[in-house]
C-alpha cells in the first residue's frame, strides 16, 4: 500500500477520516494484527490513536506484558533498569514456545470470550494470573543464548520473571495510580500498596523491589513513599519497613543517577535534553523537599547542573524554514507578516531566556552551584543593549504602514523578552515608550 502512495498522502487520507470511520479502520487493522503487513500504516495511525485512546482488544501479548509494562520504553539510554519495547516480541515468542500447546489453546479461547465482554475486569485478572504464573515458570527455566535473544532481554530477564511472579500485584498497583504525571500516592493508593505488600510471597523484600521500582518510575516524588512507609508501623513489621525504605532509596538513586548520566545532549538534541533536565530537576527538588536527599542524589544534581552549564546555547527551536517564510509573506498582508525578519533570532533568544530561567530557578532550589546564573546576567545585558539601540532607532521610523508594522514587530518582540527577564511592569513601560516614539 505504501509503495503506491507516499506516506504523506496516506497520512493525509487517514487523518481526513471522521473519528468514527478512523476507529473502524483501526479495529480492522487490529484484527489483522501482525499477520498482515500493516505496520507502516499502524505507525501513521499511532499519532491520532494517542489522541483518541480507543479501547484496545485484549491479546495474549498485551495481557502477558501487563505486569512489566511500566518498564517498557522505546529506547534505552544507559543502565536505567528498563526494557526495550521491541523485546516484547522475543518474550512472547519464548513463552509461547515453552508453554504446552493445549494450555496455550485454552488461553487463546478464553481471550476470545473476554474480548466479547470488555467490561469483565475480574475475568481479565483471573486469566492474567494463570498466564503470568505459567509464563514465570517457563521463563525461569530459560537460559538465553547470546545468539538467540537481544542483549537487552538477557540482562532484564530476571526483572521480567520477577514481575510476572507477582503479576497481579504489579497490575493492581499500576491501575491504582492515576494516569499521567502524579506526585504522590493518594489515600486509596497507599492502602492498596500496604495491602499488596502484606500479600507478597515469603520473600517480601525481594519481590517488593519490583513494586518499588514501578513507584519510582511512576511517581514524580518517589521519596513520598519513604515517608508513607515510615508511618505504617501498624501494618508492616519494622524490619520489613526498613528493608523497603532501603530498597526504594536505592531505586531512587539508581534511577536518578542513570537518568542524569543519560543526559547526553549530542545524542538526544537540546530540546529533548532541556525537557528531560527540567523533569529530573523537578524530581530532585521534590526528593530534597521530602528530606530524602542522599549524597548520590546531590551528586546527580551537580552533574545535571554541570551538563546544562556546558551546553553552549540552551535553545530548543526548530528554525522556520525559508520557503515557509516566503509562503507566509506571499499569502499575508505586510502588516501581519512583518517581523518575520526578526522571527528566527528572536525565537532563539526567547528560547534561551526561557530555558535559562526555568532550569536556573530549579537548580537554585537544589542548593548546588548554578552555572546558569551568569548566563542570565549576560542575556539581560544583551537585551538591554538591543533595547537601547531599538529605542534610538524607533523615532526615525518612516510613516508608511509597512515600515511601522516592521518596527512595531521588532519592538514588541523585545518587549516580550524584557517581560520574561524583568516582569510585566518594566515591559509595559517599554511598550508605552516605544508606541509613543512610533506615533512620533
Amino acid at each position: 500500500m505504501t509503495g503506491l502512495v507516499s506516506t504523506e498522502e496516506l497520512e493525509q487520507c487517514l487523518f481526513a477520516l471522521q473519528p468514527d470511520q478512523f476507529l473502524e479502520l483501526y479495529r480492522l487493522y487490529e484484527k489483522l494484527g501482525n499477520k498482515a503487513n500493516v505496520q507502516p500504516e499502524m505507525q501513521i495511525l499511532r499519532r491520532r490513536l494517542v489522541r483518541m485512546r480507543p479501547v484496545r482488544a485484549l491479546t495474549f501479548s498485551r495481557l502477558l506484558c501487563q505486569p512489566f509494562e511500566e518498564f517498557l520504553v522505546n529506547e534505552v539510554t544507559g543502565d536505567t533498569g528498563l526494557i526495550m519495547r521491541r523485546c516484547c516480541t522475543a518474550i512472547v515468542r519464548l513463552v509461547r514456545r515453552k508453554l504446552a500447546p493445549d494450555l496455550l489453546r485454552r488461553f487463546e479461547q478464553r481471550l476470545v470470550h473476554l474480548n466479547q465482554r470488555p467490561d469483565d475486569r475480574a475475568g481479565q485478572i483471573l486469566l492474567g494470573q494463570e498466564i503470568w504464573k505459567a509464563a514465570a515458570v517457563a521463563l525461569a527455566e530459560v537460559r538465553c543464548g547470546p545468539a538467540r535473544s537481544p542483549e537487552d532481554l538477557r540482562r532484564r530477564l530476571g526483572l521480567v520473571t520477577g514481575c510476572l511472579e507477582i503479576g497481579e500485584a504489579m497490575v493492581s498497583l499500576s491501575r491504582g495510580i492515576p494516569d499521567g504525571r502524579v506526585d504522590t500516592l493518594d489515600d486509596s493508593g497507599r492502602k492498596l500498596l500496604v495491602k499488596l505488600l502484606r500479600g507478597l510471597p515469603h520473600d517480601r523484600t525481594g519481590h517488593a523491589r519490583y513494586l518499588m521500582a514501578m513507584l519510582t518510575r511512576r511517581l514524580e516524588n518517589p521519596a513520598s513513599v519513604i515517608e508513607m512507609l515510615a508511618k505504617e508501623n501498624r501494618n508492616l513489621p519494622g524490619a520489613t519497613r526498613q528493608n523497603l525504605i532501603r530498597v526504594i532509596r536505592r531505586e531512587i538513586e539508581s534511577s536518578i543517577g542513570a537518568s542524569a548520566a543519560a543526559l547526553v545532549v549530542g545524542a538526544i538534541g537540546t530540546r529533548e535534553s532541556v525537557r528531560q533536565a527540567e523533569r529530573l530537576l523537578d524530581r530532585l527538588g521534590q526528593i530534597k523537599a521530602s528530606g530524602a536527599a542522599t549524597p548520590m542524589t546531590d551528586k546527580a544534581a551537580r552533574d545535571i547542573a554541570d551538563t546544562l552549564g556546558g551546553i553552549d546555547r540552551l535553545i530548543s527551536v526548530e528554525a522556520l524554514r525559508q520557503d515557509r517564510q516566503e509562503q507566509i509573506r506571499e499569502l499575508l498582508p505586510t502588516e501581519l507578516s512583518a517581523g518575520l525578519e526578526n522571527a528566527e533570532t528572536y525565537r532563539e533568544l526567547e528560547s534561551e531566556i526561557d530555558n535559562v530561567i526555568r532550569l536556573g530557578d530549579r537548580i537554585e532550589t537544589l542548593g548546588v552551584d548554578n552555572p546558569l546564573r551568569q548566563r542570565r546576567d549576560r542575556l539581560r545585558r544583551d537585551i538591554d543593549g538591543r533595547r537601547t539601540e531599538m529605542m534610538r532607532r524607533l523615532a526615525d521610523t518612516p510613516g508608511d504602514p509597512t515600515a511601522q508594522a516592521r518596527a512595531r514587530a521588532g519592538l514588541y518582540g523585545l518587549v516580550r523578552m524584557v517581560e520574561m527577564l524583568d516582569g510585566p511592569k518594566a515591559a509595559e513601560n517599554m511598550r508605552r515608550d516605544g508606541d509613543r516614539l512610533l506615533a512620533g
Partner: protein
C-alpha cells in the same frame, strides 16, 4: 463592529425560535454568581485568549448599558463565576503585556463575537508581543485560512463551471493559479451566470466573497480542512478519548470525564448539523447565487453560529493534549476541563437539544466537590474550617479537662 454584532444577534435569533433576552443575567457588575446558566451565546460571552493562567477561559460580553464586562470562572475551583467590568481586569490580577494590549484593543474596537475577538488576537499575536511561538501560531492560522480561501475559490469555480454546463480541461486546471488561467476560467462562467440570472463578473465576485467567508471552515472536499472544521473533528476525537478514560480509570473523577464526553458530544453534534447545512448549501453554488442576498445572509448566520458553538473548545482540547503528553496529571486536567467546559446555551437550539443543555447544566451543578455546599455549589467555609475547628475544639476540651483534673 456594529454590523458584526447585528449579524450575531441575527444568528442567535436564527438558532433560537424566540428573541433572546441578552442581558437578563447582567444586572450588576462586580458580582459573584453561584448559578451561572447563560441562555444565549451573547449572554455566555466570547472566550478571550489571554495568556495569564488565572484568566484562562474568561469571557467578554456586553452589559445592559452596552459596556464591556468579563465573566471569570471561579478562581478557587468552585462552580460560580465572577462578573466584572472589562476595564477593571488589571486590578484583579497582574496581566502580561500581551493581555494588557489585547484588553486595550478589544475595549477600543468593542468586539464581543468569536470572529471579532479572533481577528484582534491574530493581529496582535503576529507582532510577537506574546512570544515568537504565539506569533508563529497566529501566522500559521492566518496562512492556513488564506490557503483554504484560495483552494475554496478554485473548487467553487470548478463546480460552478461544471454545473453551468462547461468543462474545465486539465490544461486549464494547471494554470488556474496564474491570473491568465483565472481570466480563462471566468470566461467560462457564462453558462452558470445565465442559470443564476446574472452576469459572469457578478458570479466571479460572489465566488470571491464565498471563499473569503469560508476561510475558517473550508469546503468538505478540501484535503486540508479549515480551522473550525478541524476543531470540530478534534472535538469528536476528544469525546471518544475522555469517554474511554472515564470508563477505564480508577480515578474519583471518572464521572467528570463522562460528563465532559457528554457535553462534547452535545456541542459537536449541534455544530456538526450547522456544518452539514453549510455543506448542503454549497453543493449547488449556482442555486445559492441565484438567491444571493438571502443565501449569503443565511450562510453568514450559520458560519457565525458554528464559530459561537466551537468557541472555547480549543483551550479545552489543549489541556487534554498536554495531559496526554504527560506535561500535567490527567486527573488535574479532567478536573479543570469539568470546571470550564462550554455548554451550549439552551435558547440557542431546538427544544430537544435545549432540554439536553438544561440537563447538562443540572449535571454540572449536581456534582458536589469536597467542602462544597450541595445546594449552591459554593465553597462552604464552615465545612472547610470544620476539621481544624473540630481539632481546635478537641484540643481546647482536653485543655479544659486537664485543667479540671489539676484543680
Amino acid at each position: 463592529m456594529a454590523t458584526e454584532l447585528k449579524a450575531s444577534v441575527a444568528a442567535v435569533q436564527g438558532g433560537a425560535r424566540s428573541r433572546a433576552s441578552v442581558t437578563a443575567a447582567q444586572k450588576a457588575a462586580h458580582a459573584r454568581r453561584s448559578h451561572y446558566e447563560p441562555s444565549t451565546f451573547l449572554e455566555r460571552g466570547t472566550v478571550i485568549p489571554f495568556t495569564t493562567g488565572a484568566l484562562a477561559q474568561c469571557r467578554v460580553r456586553l452589559d445592559d448599558r452596552q459596556r464591556l464586562e468579563v465573566v471569570l470562572p471561579g478562581f478557587s475551583g468552585g462552580k460560580g463565576v465572577y462578573v466584572t467590568a472589562f476595564t477593571s481586569l488589571p486590578e484583579i490580577t497582574t496581566l502580561s503585556v500581551h493581555d494588557r494590549t489585547l484588553t486595550e484593543i478589544v475595549a477600543k474596537e468593542k468586539v464581543v463575537t468569536p470572529t471579532g475577538i479572533r481577528r484582534c488576537w491574530q493581529e496582535l499575536a503576529t507582532t510577537g508581543i506574546g512570544g515568537q511561538g504565539l506569533a508563529e501560531l497566529a501566522r500559521e492560522e492566518l496562512t492556513r485560512a488564506a490557503e483554504v480561501q484560495v483552494s475554496t475559490r478554485i473548487m467553487l469555480l470548478l463546480e460552478t463551471v461544471r454545473r453551468g454546463g462547461g468543462e474545465i480541461g486539465p490544461e486549464v486546471v494547471a494554470t488556474m493559479g496564474s491570473p491568465e488561467g483565472q481570466t480563462q476560467v471566468r470566461a467560462m462562467l457564462g453558462g452558470a451566470a445565465s442559470r443564476a440570472n446574472t452576469d459572469a463578473v457578478t458570479v466571479a465576485q460572489h465566488i470571491e466573497e464565498l471563499a473569503a467567508m469560508l476561510g475558517t471552515l473550508g469546503l468538505r472536499s478540501l484535503p486540508e480542512p479549515g480551522r473550525l472544521r478541524q476543531l470540530h473533528t478534534r472535538m469528536q476525537e476528544f469525546s471518544h478519548a475522555i469517554d474511554n478514560w472515564g470508563r477505564t480509570t480508577v480515578s474519583d473523577l471518572a464521572h467528570v470525564g463522562r460528563f465532559a464526553a457528554m457535553s462534547t458530544d452535545h456541542s459537536a453534534g449541534i455544530a456538526g448539523r450547522a456544518i452539514a447545512e453549510v455543506d448542503r448549501m454549497l453543493t449547488d453554488p449556482i442555486r445559492l447565487m441565484a438567491r444571493w442576498d438571502a443565501s449569503r445572509k443565511v450562510l453568514h448566520g450559520y458560519l457565525l453560529r458554528i464559530a459561537w458553538l466551537l468557541d472555547g473548545w480549543d483551550y479545552v482540547l489543549r489541556i487534554w493534549d498536554d495531559a496526554v503528553a504527560e506535561r500535567i496529571a490527567i486527573d488535574a486536567a479532567v478536573k479543570e476541563i469539568g470546571r470550564i467546559i462550554p455548554i451550549v446555551p439552551a435558547r440557542e437550539v431546538d427544544a430537544d437539544a435545549g432540554r439536553r443543555s438544561v440537563e447538562l447544566f443540572r449535571e454540572y451543578r449536581s456534582r458536589v466537590g469536597m467542602f462544597e455546599d450541595w445546594l449552591s455549589g459554593d465553597m462552604d467555609e464552615d465545612l472547610r474550617a470544620g476539621p481544624e475547628r473540630q481539632s481546635a475544639g478537641q484540643a481546647a476540651g482536653q485543655a479544659v479537662g486537664q485543667a479540671g483534673e489539676h484543680r
